[in-house]
Amino acid sequence: MEWLDAIIQGVLLGGLYALFATGLSLIFGVMRLVNIAHGDLIVLAAFLGLAMVNGTGVHPLISLVVIVPVMAAIGYALQRGILNLTLGRDILPPLLVTFGLSIIIQNVLLEVFSADTQRLKAGALETASIAIGEQIAIGWFPLIVFLSAVGVIAALQLVLFRTRLGTAFRATSDDHETAALMGIDNRHVFALAMALALAVVALAGTFMAIRTNFSPAIGPARLLYAFEAVIIGGLGSLWGTLAGGVILGVAQAIGAKFHPGGQILAGHVAFLIVLVLRPNGLFPRTRDR
């Protein structure tokens, strides 16, 4: 029973990792951009949520009504103003620029909010749970996070495969020069993809801030979890990314059972095992070579 509980908690935690990873996966899929600042943008969203909750007293989940569109707008401007200029045949410039961006975000957060660890208070929601039998209790909040991850990925999947914009995303990803011949403005489409990605980042950052302590320096570790979830799942597959997040979460939960400090290590070990057995991840995009 103890093990079943660990696995359930791990699956739910995997929902948060999937939310960390979804934006990264989407951006890589659409424009082959590896965003090194992704983790710091998650932390930025957390601090924006903190500022708003402290400033207005609203519940963190209500603050999403503002934080999600704000992060989307930041994403659009960031892509249009900076990142589009770095895209080309060479993969190095976007890596360097997003690495620089990561450092800038960390330093600005440090300057504005100090190095103190923070937490978003969500009141009764933090402890509310549903009891299943004698030994297993499922927290409402982790459940909400997990269902949000499923909902977000289902919605993105609908956008990708059922809308005009989604078709444009896929065409641009295949061949952006020919996509332009269809009337697609790649710079705009890329910016919309980044806006969508950072909308998900806003959700991920706020959930993270309710669940754990955070400080300006924790971005790179979130990036690592996101990377691992994306790679485990297979590049370009959003449902794969969810599976990757869940595998990471379950491995961590099981690792924690063995040894209190084993949590993080177990996640990395699971990542390495998948990488050795299935170098392309579990669900690689089939139409890529």
């Binding site: 078709t167 896929r170 295949d174 996509a179 332009a180 011949l181 009337g183 697609i184 790649n186």
Partner: protein, 237 residues
């Protein structure tokens, strides 16, 4: 004078570069409304480069390209197709992640009004209806070419540029594909075909340009050109 309303496309001393390499050296071409113009020339003569410059895939100066009298040389590819110039690119270049139907519908991304709808494209190429759910790149070469033409038509162009329609196709398929050009012209579309295959091009064209090493080496009506002139202009002796 080019730039009158009856001229759909004109280029003025058009040049093009790949880095330091100059591929076009001052090309003057004009295409009148309703005409079918052929551009012929040996491999590497600059035909594709010319089309890529016209549609904005390669940069050019503002006044080097005019469309219906307005300069478009400075515009980007996505802006030019929205003004009614569509390219069927060399090698078809269908989107592998998209089904045949999605490839076609993406052609209408710019939402230009006009006679071409998916039903009309299906009438022209019924096989594209039968195979609408398959990935574009799973089609045969001829079917891919049909899909690429249909995709370009979906943007409702007033000017359709076709780069080597016959490339790699069997003669019977080539004839089938060339047979639809008159239907497209009858909808009021002006066509430019680029071909290495001289005979195919001379059959359909009202006028011909021959390119050689980035320059126009000959132009005229097919009936007015002797075989020797064409051979000289094409191969450069």
């Amino acid at each position: 004078m080019s730039g009158t309303p009856e001229t759909v496309l004109a280029t003025h001393e058009l040049t093009a570069f790949y880095g330091d390499f100059q591929a076009l050296f001052g090309i003057d071409v004009h295409v009148g409304r309703g005409e079918t113009v052929a551009i012929i020339g040996a491999n590497g003569a600059g035909k594709s480069t010319f089309l890529r410059s016209v549609v904005g895939q390669l940069p050019s100066e503002r006044e080097q390209v005019t469309h219906e009298g307005k300069p478009i040389g400075h515009l980007q590819a996505h802006e030019i197709v929205r003004r009614g110039i569509a390219l069927v690119p060399e090698g078809r270049l269908l989107f592998p992640s998209l089904s045949v139907e999605e490839n076609l519908r993406l052609g209408a991304y710019g939402k230009r009004a006009g006679p071409w709808k998916i039903e009309r494209v299906h009438e022209l190429f019924p096989v594209l209806r039968e195979r609408r759910a398959t990935p574009g790149t799973a089609l045969s070469g001829g079917e891919q070419q049909m899909c690429a033409i249909g995709r370009a038509l979906m943007s409702n162009p007033t000017l359709l540029l076709c780069d080597e329609l016959s490339l790699g196709l069997a003669p019977v398929i080539i004839r089938q594909i060339y047979a639809v050009l008159p239907v497209i012209v009858s909808e009021g579309t002006t066509i430019v075909v680029v071909e290495q295959d001289i005979n195919q091009a001379l059959d359909v064209a009202d006028r011909v340009y021959c390119f050689q090493e980035g320059r126009v080496s000959l132009q005229g009506r097919p009936d007015d050109l002797s075989r020797e002139d064409v051979a000289t202009a094409y191969f450069g002796v």
